[in-house]
């Protein structure tokens, strides 16, 4: 029996995205955005989009596969996978599920994608205004804990309390994103730099999160095309291989009313080791990281749980100079990420990791053969992804 692994078996050969918009500013309907991203990724891969036979997404993406396949005029539809729950925590999971379908022989050409028009369907940062509430939110909403930031701030606060992490560590994470966005014309915050004074003076959203610790709300779509590794060299771009991926969360992270036993956590305590084991690699092998930022506090905990530093070393590691390309020891969010490129629900991070391995980022890291993507820290399930060049196989 062959080893059960995705390592080296699937390649990403195409990436594509729409223009990225502030929320409510997309001139296009959400489904049209999805189609634009898939066609852009197909062009980048040099494939006929009619050859796409698998679709993978997450967070209950409304652009569902049968309609997509019909709209594209695809010859047939085979694999359709949806990563359950976890919102943006499913970004890498969608790629992993699509890749697994390829490895299992359920599809030959899979597009993983996310399309989101918050203007068309409602903003993530606004609470629903129904008069009554039941289930998980009933334990929180009546006390004014309604938005994602309000739900997660207390995890970050507890971690900062336990390990003596200072606000400056969160500030460095935010500033790295804005710094990298200034060289990325796709970024919504291109031309809008952030400095320490501006961060410090920004209003609190919910302590310990300032305005600049929180992701944007955006409209757009992004997609990647995956094929079996054997075919990877048939396409115009340098192939980017999946080295490892994992999804899920630790023991009872889903316990409601803030009862997860490992509370001060990004939910990666068990998930990160699974990914490294599949890849046969460790944190020292990773040259560049794209981490989903719902809030900077999640990035703080996720980087610690991926082994880049011990929690008590966070203040020393999370200094701006360490997080910048090309000179920092661990360039972070080199496109600007959710804070400053686009909150494409974290799928823009997968595309940026591909660019890093290809060597085509606007903030290229010198060590980019192994690129990490971290999805949706603090939610459940979360997911992650290690991509690598042919040299890493």
């Amino acid at each position: 029996m062959t080893e059960r692994s995705l390592r080296g078996r699937v390649a990403i050969v195409g990436i594509g995205e729409t223009e990225y918009y502030k929320h409510s500013q997309s001139p296009d309907a959400e489904f049209k955005l999805a189609l634009k991203a898939v066609l852009a990724a197909s062009r980048d891969a040099g494939i006929d989009p009619r050859d796409i036979d698998g679709f993978a997404s997450y967070s209950n993406d409304r652009s569902e596969p049968s309609r997509m396949s019909a709209a594209l005029g695809a010859r047939q539809l085979r694999s359709t996978t949806m990563q359950w729950g976890g919102g943006g925590g499913g970004n890498c999971g969608a790629v992993a599920n699509g890749a697994a379908a390829i490895v299992a022989g359920l599809a030959d050409c899979v597009v993983a994608y996310r399309s989101l028009a918050q203007g068309q369907f409602g903003r993530f940062g606004k609470a629903p205004t129904a008069p009554t509430i039941s289930g998980d939110m009933a334990w929180q909403a009546p006390y004014g804990v309604l938005s994602p930031g309000q739900k997660f701030a207390m995890k970050a606060r507890r971690f900062m309390h336990e390990h003596g992490v200072r606000q400056e560590a969160l500030r460095a994470i935010a500033m790295a994103s804005y710094h990298h966005a200034q060289s990325n014309p796709r970024a919504v915050m291109y031309g809008k730099p952030l400095d320490e004074a501006k961060y410090d003076a920004s209003r609190w959203i919910v302590e310990p999160f300032h305005l600049f610790d929180c992701c944007m709300e955006n409209d757009g779509a992004a997609a990647v095309i995956m094929v079996p590794a054997e075919r990877a060299r048939d396409f115009p771009n340098k192939p980017v291989y999946i080295l490892g991926a994992a999804t899920g969360s630790d023991h009872r992270v889903g316990a409601a009313a803030h009862n997860q036993p490992n509370y001060a956590s990004s939910s990666f305590s068990t998930v990160a080791p699974h990914m490294y084991r599949m890849a046969g690699l460790g944190p020292k092998d990773v040259g560049v990281v794209q981490s989903y930022k719902n809030f900077t506090g999640g990035v703080l905990m996720a980087l610690a749980e991926h082994g880049f530093f011990k929690p008590e070393e966070a203040n020393d590691f999370l200094k701006l100079e360490n997080l910048l390309a090309p000179s920092g020891k661990l360039p972070l969010n080199t496109s600007g990420g959710n804070l400053a490129e686009c909150y494409m629900h974290g799928f823009e991070l997968v595309l940026e990791a591909v660019r890093q391995v290809r060597g085509t980022s606007t903030a290229q890291a010198p060590r980019s053969d192994v690129a990490l993507v971290i999805g949706g820290p603090m939610v459940t399930p979360v997911s992650n992804l290690l991509l690598g060049s042919e040299a890493t196989l």
Partner: protein, 152 residues
């Protein structure tokens, strides 16, 4: 003896009112608050306390863990000060405090509430707090929240 009941609302009216799910899972909790009692699931088979409620004891898999009354006393485990109004009824309200409280008398289960008092005060993780039943008898439907304040 301090008064552990109030009819003053910490937050403005208009936030979602908690009601049990259609299947009734959490009804004993919310009905208990209305009577000024804090009830938490307490498995008779293995002694595990469980909150939020579930149909199954996560430790021993006994179904329908019974509800036990427990003292509303706990320690602040974490906290936040919320500023940005994400709901229309909070517009112009100003900051408010939310605490995660762990209940040592109920196996360390946690629950959320507001920390009564000055919303701009420092919050001390580990500090002892006691529950205050905040009744809303005129609301439709009527409900009660469990709030927290420092033990003096």
């Amino acid at each position: 003896m301090s008064n552990t009941t109030t009819h003053e609302s910490y937050l403005p009216a208009g936030l979602p009112i908690p009601v049990p799910e259609a299947d009734g899972l959490s009804a004993p909790f919310w009905n208990g608050l209305r009577e000024g009692r804090l009830r938490v699931q307490h498995c008779q088979a293995c002694g595990t306390w469980q909150h939020a409620p579930e149909w199954l004891c996560h430790h021993c898999h006994a179904f329908d863990p019974p509800w036990d009354e427990t003292a509303p006393r706990g320690r602040i485990y974490s906290w936040e000060r919320a500023w940005h109004p994400v709901h229309p009824c909070l517009n112009g309200h100003g900051p408010y405090l939310v605490v995660v409280v762990e209940l040592p008398g109920a196996g360390g289960v946690r629950m959320l509430g507001n920390l009564l008092g000055d919303p701009n005060a420092e919050v001390v993780i580990g500090a002892e707090v006691e529950g205050v039943f905040e009744h809303h008898p005129q609301a439709q439907p009527p409900f009660t929240l469990l709030q927290w304040r420092y033990v003096k």
